[in-house]
Symmetry: C2
Subunit: 210 residues, 2 copies
Amino acid sequence: MSREGVIAAALSLFHEEGLAKVTMRRVAAVLDTGPASLYVYISDTEDLHAEILDALLADVAEPSSPADWRGRLKGTLRGYIAVLFEHPELARMAMSTMPSGANYLALVEKILALLKEGGVPDGQAAWAVDLLLLFATAQAAEKAAWKASARSPSNFSALAAIIETADVETLPNIVRHGTDLLSGRGDRLDWGFDVLINGVLKTRRMETKS
Amino acid sequence: MSREGVIAAALSLFHEEGLAKVTMRRVAAVLDTGPASLYVYISDTEDLHAEILDALLADVAEPSSPADWRGRLKGTLRGYIAVLFEHPELARMAMSTMPSGANYLALVEKILALLKEGGVPDGQAAWAVDLLLLFATAQAAEKAAWKASARSPSNFSALAAIIETADVETLPNIVRHGTDLLSGRGDRLDWGFDVLINGVLKTRRMETKS
DNA sequence: ACCTGAACACCGTTCAAGT
DNA sequence: ACCTGAACACCGTTCAAGT
């Protein structure tokens, strides 16, 4: 056995049954041994899950159209988000695990290069990568919640119902916007990227007013 | 017994032992019964945890200084983030649960009002609340990961080590920025808020170029 | 209706003992 | 050093049976 062997077993389990089934006990079972044996190579369950994410990040597609830096940046982010959208459970995990695998680093490198090309000053660029990737990951994690509540639509329609019937006295703005608060799932993502990029170009580090 | 009773028991367990201990079995034990009894009032564990978050959101502080709308908006967001920072496990949960409690709605209402005051057009405002709260929540969830890796500092210093020793050929921009990629935890949050606010003011819906 | 004992089907992690 | 059986200490959820 080896770390790679354990990860390979975890990965196949992941593809066949999803992240929820990638448990120490099940991976051990695939390898015909007891769970204790894995601890020689893997420090804990989180370690295992982080490896799965990094393996998947190898598939982040190169943005196809040779557009300007902004277009390629958005394309790269869409590639990253596409991977997480297919496996929303991993987005949740990435939210609280600080990825540090080789493929994640390559992604950070690419984004830094694009920001540099776009003339974003170094000080801002370092923080901007974090902001962009945080947004992309969070958006994927949120979509995971949507998927879950689509399976049992109670949550979403319950929320819509609450908004529709909200008290005009205490929540006037919520009533005014109505279900627009829940709309535009597709364009919204793209709008978010633009907000971030425009904001990064406009906002200097240290220029923290109020 | 009642839903409120169950939630009250869960809340006290949460304050004494943290979210990880708020399990069906333990809450039931507090109420001197078996876990099955809770299912009359609570649909599942997630339901229970969501109630805890909304209860905490009652404490989101009013921004103290009567500043301009931007200052009050940032103050409100800081108030929200402060609650999540104290209980980072809840930030992770909020990331994938679509809060819909009364206190969360009140927070959305307040932010909508401030954006309106700031002259943000309605179409943008509806999406902007989502973006601002997503960012705040994600930031708190990420801080949760930091806390965890501070307990076992291996993750963070390992990441720092990886960055320091990264290959200049393949990862030139990462090497150039070095540990600046991991710096400025405090100012960074405020910079992020400004990026978002500036971006929202600059970016119209539908103006999705490239 | 509301409540519950008991069971089903699982978990992660540790540790003493073996090879 | 590497590996493992067995145990410890838990989980969520369901369901038949009771009140």
